[in-house]
């Protein structure tokens, strides 16, 4: 009884649209005719689609890898410094995650501005550039990933920091007595103890990054020449801007398999955590 | 204030029977302790009286009324939990008065009752503190205070002292007894600690595997246990059980333990056991306090034997000695000056006036 509003909300505004999008994907552009897998076969024949698939995967995997790496490294540094200051540093380093991504991406857009780029201004002192941050294919891909890493790394930092604190200090002392150097301590103590959190955070971030919209949309709108489009932005372009709702729905449906696999693994890990506790 | 009665009460979880039909009459003002090992059904029984568990079969009566389907709040009971279950966001006073406030008692009366209970429990100074700021013993008092202000028909205690350290436990035990002497509310108290049971109870209910083994006053349980389980459960160190059989010895009745050791039974015991078949496998039940060092002036019924000690444990006022008889481990309590030493031979005396004889197969005390 108490869960009724929850069930209605999920059923009506999550489950129904999810199923509905499968139905939509089988219609033609004016949504009057059933075309079966027509939209999918159409997509398969388009180079842009395969490019988006490739770009989404590269984008998500690269961004998550660097978020995880930076998060892990910074978490260790923060963990190293004494308590009171630790709070301050942690507070400062989490700021990117707190600012609404649409707002902070605007700042990046301005930093990358073709004529006034503050980065290029700085780099010019070293005789580098000017770099065409968002206009050149390779640099544009680099830029969207950079911004995503900037936005997401603090989340990893916080999760890892929480995990680091949960590792009992005695384990490190025991390892030190056993003669482990700092690298062995990370490899044999820290990583195994944090494995679960690392897995959950990574998978979770994989979903979020894979489905990202804000950053790419604001930074490049998919350009130059669709070279930075990922599923969400391309679905938006085709479905909303191009008014081909069925095709847009088909595009976004391609996210499902990857999301589902990640979700299954997360669920397994979360349940495992629950059982351990 | 009221009496409590259980009639053939059964609790079944899926296919596990936690409580297998127990009958119990608790008189008004009585302090009853349910004691037994974990999983014996004592807590389930208490929770059924509280109304926190449904009963599968049977009847529970409080003050003569069947309360099987009465919700806990209408049973007029109060309960003290093992982890105290104090509301962490409320002060001591708010914790104690929560039930009264829910029932919309007048403010003045609530205040009066809280003040009175706080005075009784000596927590008047703590009344505005939060549970977090209290020690374990203080929390325990507040939990009792919460029960007292309600002025219920029955107090229910669910292992209230098991989270306290040993010293505090003794102190709170005395406290609980004092409170009961003042308020005289019918009390059902669950514990796994037989010392608590013995010291607190008017009558003790020993439970095992969902059944009642024996109901009796602490002295009855100690001196006249009905079963091997009760005999072994009550008393510390536990009663020794030594395999033996009865033997006729020219008109007298002997009890034979080993080829070398056999004792003549004192007349009172001999008369009681005379009718038993001589072939039965029996157990001699004797408490450690009835095995001590031998000395010159032994009373009638006290028999001596020689053994080799395995281990000795000096306790200060006494020394516990451990040895084996017919493969059974036996413990005795001797004077610390009797010279008991690990691995040394010693002559000990067994007071057969306090012995029990049990049927090995059924575990019933004969």
């Amino acid at each position: 009884m108490l869960t009724l509003p929850l069930i209605i909300l999920i059923a009506l505004l999550v489950l129904y649209p999810a199923v509905y999008s499968i139905h939509l994907a089988t219609l033609n552009k004016s949504m009057q005719k059933f075309v079966g897998f027509g939209n999918f076969t159409f997509l398969f024949k388009r180079d842009t689609f395969w490019m988006v698939v490739k770009q989404s995967c590269i984008f998500a995997v690269t961004a998550v890898f660097f978020k995880a790496l930076i998060g892990f490294i910074v978490a260790h540094f923060v963990h190293n410094i004494p308590g009171k200051k630790q709070r301050k540093w942690r507070g400062m380093l989490l700021v990117p995650w707190v600012i609404p991504p649409a707002m902070s991406t605007l700042a990046w857009l301005w930093l990358f501005d073709p004529s006034y780029s503050a980065f290029n201004y700085t780099l010019s002192f070293f005789g580098i550039g000017p770099v065409n941050w968002l206009g050149d294919t390779a640099w544009a891909r680099f830029s969207v990933i950079l911004v995503n890493v900037w936005y997401g790394a603090p989340f990893f930092l916080i999760m890892y920091l929480a995990a680091l604190k949960s590792v009992p200090e005695q384990l490190y002392e025991a390892a030190a007595i056993d003669g482990a150097n700092w690298w062995q301590r990370i490899w044999y103590v820290t990583l195994p103890m944090m494995r679960n959190i690392i897995a959950i955070t990574t998978l979770f971030s994989l979903i979020v990054t894979f489905a990202n919209f804000d950053i790419v949309r604001i930074l490049t709108s998919g350009g130059p020449l669709d070279r930075t489009h990922i599923f969400a932005t391309w679905a938006f372009k085709v479905g909303i801007e191009g008014s081909d709702i069925p095709l847009g729905a088909s595009v976004s449906l391609f996210m499902v398999p990857i999301l589902a696999i990640a979700a299954i693994f997360i669920l397994r890990d979360v349940n495992k955590r629950g059982n351990e506790a | 204030m009221a009496d409590v009665a259980l009639r053939k009460v059964v609790k079944r979880y899926d296919d596990v029977e936690a409580v297998r039909g127990i009958d119990l009459d608790i008189a008004d003002h009585e302090f009853i302790v349910l004691v037994g090992p974990s999983g014996c059904g004592k807590s389930t029984t208490l929770r059924m009286i509280a109304g926190l568990e449904d009963i599968t079969d049977g009847d529970i009566m409080i003050g003569g009324d069947v309360v099987n389907d009465v919700p806990p709040k209408d049973r007029d009971i109060a309960m003290v939990f093992q982890n105290y279950a104090l509301y962490p966001h409320m002060t001591v006073a708010e914790n104690m008065s929560f039930g009264l406030r829910l029932k919309h008692y007048p403010k003045a009366e609530i205040k009066a009752r809280v003040t009175e209970a706080a005075r009784l429990l000596d927590i008047t100074d703590l009344i505005d503190r939060k549970p977090k700021q209290l020690s374990g013993g203080q929390r325990q008092r507040v939990a009792m205070g919460r029960a007292i202000v309600r002025n219920p028909k029955v107090f229910l205690f669910d292992e209230p002292l098991s989270n306290l350290d040993a010293k505090l436990r003794v102190q709170m035990r005395i406290e609980i007894k004092k409170v009961h002497q003042k308020v005289r509310t019918t009390t059902v108290y669950v514990t796994h600690d037989q010392v608590e049971a013995m010291t607190l109870a008017d009558r003790v209910v020993v439970m095992n595997k969902g059944r009642i083994e024996q109901i009796g006053t602490p002295n009855e349980l100690y001196h006249k246990p009905a079963t091997r389980f009760v005999a072994g459960f009550i008393g510390s160190p536990a009663m020794n059980f030594i395999p033996c059989r009865l033997e006729d010895n020219g008109g007298k009745l002997n009890i034979r333990i080993t080829d070398r050791i056999s004792f003549a039974l004192p007349p009172s015991r001999a008369a009681r056991y005379n009718t038993l078949p001589r072939t039965d496998k029996l157990l001699l039940g004797i408490r450690p306090e009835h095995i001590s060092e031998s000395h010159a002036h032994l009373e009638p019924g006290v028999e001596t034997f020689d053994t080799v000690l395995d281990v000795t444990e000096p306790m200060g006022m006494e020394t516990l000695v451990y040895f084996g008889l017919e493969g059974a481990p036996v413990c005795g309590r001797v004077n610390p000056n009797a010279g008991a030493q690990d691995g040394a031979p010693m002559r000990l005396a067994m007071d057969l006036n306090n012995m029990h004889l049990l049927n090995e197969a059924t575990g019933i005390v004969l």
Binding site: V14, L24, N80, M103, T201, L267 | A50, P72
Partner: protein, 303 residues
Amino acid sequence: MSTLAIDKSGPTRKVKLGSMSRDRTWALRWSYFFLVLFAIFFLTPPLYMLITSLKSSAEISAATNPWWVFHPTLSNYVELLTSNQFLRFFWNSSMVAIMVVIVTMLISVPAAFALARMKFWGSATLATGVFLTYLIPDSLLFIPLFKMLATVQEWTGITLLNRWYVLLFIYPTLTVPFCTWIMIGYFASIPKELDEAALIDGASWLQTLTRIFIPVALPGLIAATIFAFTVSWAQFLYPLVFTTSVDQLVLPVGIITSLIKGDVFNWGQIMTGALLGAAPPLIIYAFLMDYYIAGLTAGATKG
């Protein structure tokens, strides 16, 4: 909650003599060195926002040193804060965020209470389902939702598209699952004896919820509220799709669609708007950092 308790104390490292302490001093120095580097990386964009927001258009187009303000001015702030349009965005955003928080709490707190305490048929499945729903991203649902709203609008004649209040129905799909999930965690950590004590004290389930569970799980409730607010405030895709008229826009969409006029980028104002748009979450974060972080880590640690 555990994070809260731990963070305040932090690791206490005793200063020992000998090589051990020298190692640690060096580790500490290197840590600070790298932390400063990372802090520069992490804080450059927001600081650059601030720097630009204090510049006049003239100074920006003069292309002087972008990292320094030579003639600081508040004119961008004055202009935006007196602009009806910008205030409208701000108002829309605030209304949406606050009301979504209320709706979210009304749905997820009772649901979490039921899922944490009442074992009914399918309750475990539902709890798992809630968690899975949380993993479904907005970019998967915006197209079917758009079409659904259009269809409902056609059938009933009620205007849904291009109205800010439609977001009140849509945003809870993002906030409710996570809030329910973390509240289940917080409620489940309340000992069972506490509700039994309340039951014996004569509390109904509603009284148990409002007078025991909610106060005891208050840190969780605050964390969930912060989460719901920041998600609603930051959401970009749904309002971009569902609202178009200038008076219906929320802040993120409003700044991007109205301040960017064609190719004329008034960067001073855009940065000012972005900073003002980032302000509410930042202020909440500054004051309630511990709750914010507790909510962040709760998803994974409250398995």
